[in-house]
Symmetry: C2
Subunit: 287 residues, 2 copies
């Protein structure tokens, strides 16, 4: 990441944590970053976009930490799971981002809405997969419902604790909610109807990742078109976009092409975009 951009992100992160997102003005950010307004808008189109960059960074850090925690441990290890769930919650709390997930309904920024929605759905998805790993009675069919229940209890317990000015450890909350969730898992009748079908869920989840991927590809395409770069890049991106809307996309070819794209666009300017696109591609492919 560019030095100036890093200055901005650091300042923004610090302010979002200590003042809250809404309470932080762009003026605050550029003052603290010792940077001119133009520089901020050179890197971010809006405050929302700046937040999204930060959240993506937080997300990535969390994903890595979760993988680390699982190394050498059994899939069924509850302690590991608790700490893995806590990773994201701790970060959200640490970075004061908890209630932002709720604000989707009231924002008129579509890109931002999709982004937040995506974050939330991916988290549900991850938790539901992990629950299936751990409990026999947790089937693919009912895992989404159970994941939502777990996350909702966690969320609200933290919320109430905040209202009551009670200090709680996030791991304690998760332990509690998991204990209750297990009562549901163990005692629920077989063949019980579920609320959210994982199919519907998977499709939507799939769809939103795909949309995000298309958005990023399109943006990169227009950037590439504006500035003259290796003409192959344009062709590569267009190919990926075409395949993406194809019913039977050639996954391996796409993978190869995106790797080639990465090599071609390995300048500071596009590095991040491409890295992000490959990550999204990977998410989209794996289901």
């Amino acid at each position: 990441m560019n030095a100036k951009k890093e200055q901005i992100v650091n300042a923004a992160l610090h302010l979002f944590v200590n003042k809250g997102f809404r309470q932080t003005s762009i003026q605050d950010i550029i003052d603290m970053a010792n940077v001119a307004k133009g520089t901020f808008y050179n890197y971010f189109k809006s405050k929302n976009e700046c937040l999204m960059a930060i959240m993506e960074y937080v997300q990535e850090k969390g994903d890595k930490r979760r993988v680390e925690l699982a190394i050498g441990k059994k899939k069924t290890d509850e302690e590991v799971f608790i700490h893995q769930v806590a990773v994201r919650m701790n970060m959200n709390r640490e970075y004061n981002l908890l209630s932002l997930f709720e604000s989707v309904a009231f924002s008129s920024d579509e890109t931002f809405n999709n982004f937040m929605k995506n974050q939330y759905l991916l988290e549900i998805n991850w938790v539901s997969k992990r629950l299936c790993d751990m409990y026999e009675n947790c089937t693919e069919k009912n895992s989404v419902d159970l994941a939502i229940i777990l996350l909702s209890i966690n969320h609200h317990f933290l919320h109430v604790a905040k209202l009551l000015n009670e200090q709680v450890k996030i791991e304690e909350v998760i332990k509690y909610s998991l204990q209750r969730l297990k009562l549901i898992i163990k005692n629920q009748p077989m063949n019980e109807e579920v609320f959210f079908s994982p199919i519907l869920f998977q499709q939507t989840n799939d769809k939103s990742v795909k949309e995000e991927l298309q958005n990023h590809l399109n943006q990169l395409l227009s950037n590439v078109k504006e500035n003259e770069v290796d003409s192959r890049a344009e062709e590569y991106i267009q190919f990926l976009l075409d395949e993406l809307s194809n019913e039977n996309p050639q996954l391996y070819v796409m993978e190869s092409v995106s790797e080639s794209l990465k090599k071609i666009l390995d300048s500071d300017r596009y590095q991040e975009d491409v890295r992000h696109i490959i990550q999204l591609f990977w998410k989209w492919k794996n289901h």
Copy 2:
């Protein structure tokens, strides 16, 4: 309610529902209400206060409906309970107020924060009491935890349904969450530790009602002092405030005095304030 005020409230309500609270500007409201800016600020000190007035109205309507639903039915009737819970959720959804409860952390308006907090805690309290009515294994000790679990599942299921563009009936969601909650209630070991002690909860809840009551009384007092009204009013209000901070308040005397206050201030100007104060007093007294 005054005709002009009603115009404003109707317009604001309509806009909050269709555009969302944050997206609605005061200009929007006064344009739609066909009213001058001064008139708006004659009735509400801020947009937040306007919202609070609307929410109070919604709240009252909901409370009445809940009582109606219970008439002639057993306390243990699950169907009644489901519909009672649905009343508030339907209103919140209808009026697009759901996510506002989460926004407390990000507002710098203390009065508004307390108001929202109060609304939420009162709802938890109400649900926990009702759960005790209905299930033997739901004791006073664990009822708060269970209430929060029920509300959190409801809340998040609605949230996810919205993200997935799924149309769901609120009663269906409640039925589902109650089914799961019952699994927890029935199967949880006795003497299990609870997360939120009802005592702590009750105290805080109690405290916030008291604070709200004091705020309203103080406000009314200064209003009454400014405009010359029956001099007894001032004395009455001061008495109520004194008793309120007293350790052993004379409840019956207070009740009598507040009734007298109501009679004296039975003009359009103070009618609503007094009605609200009596309602708060009633809430505070009962526990």
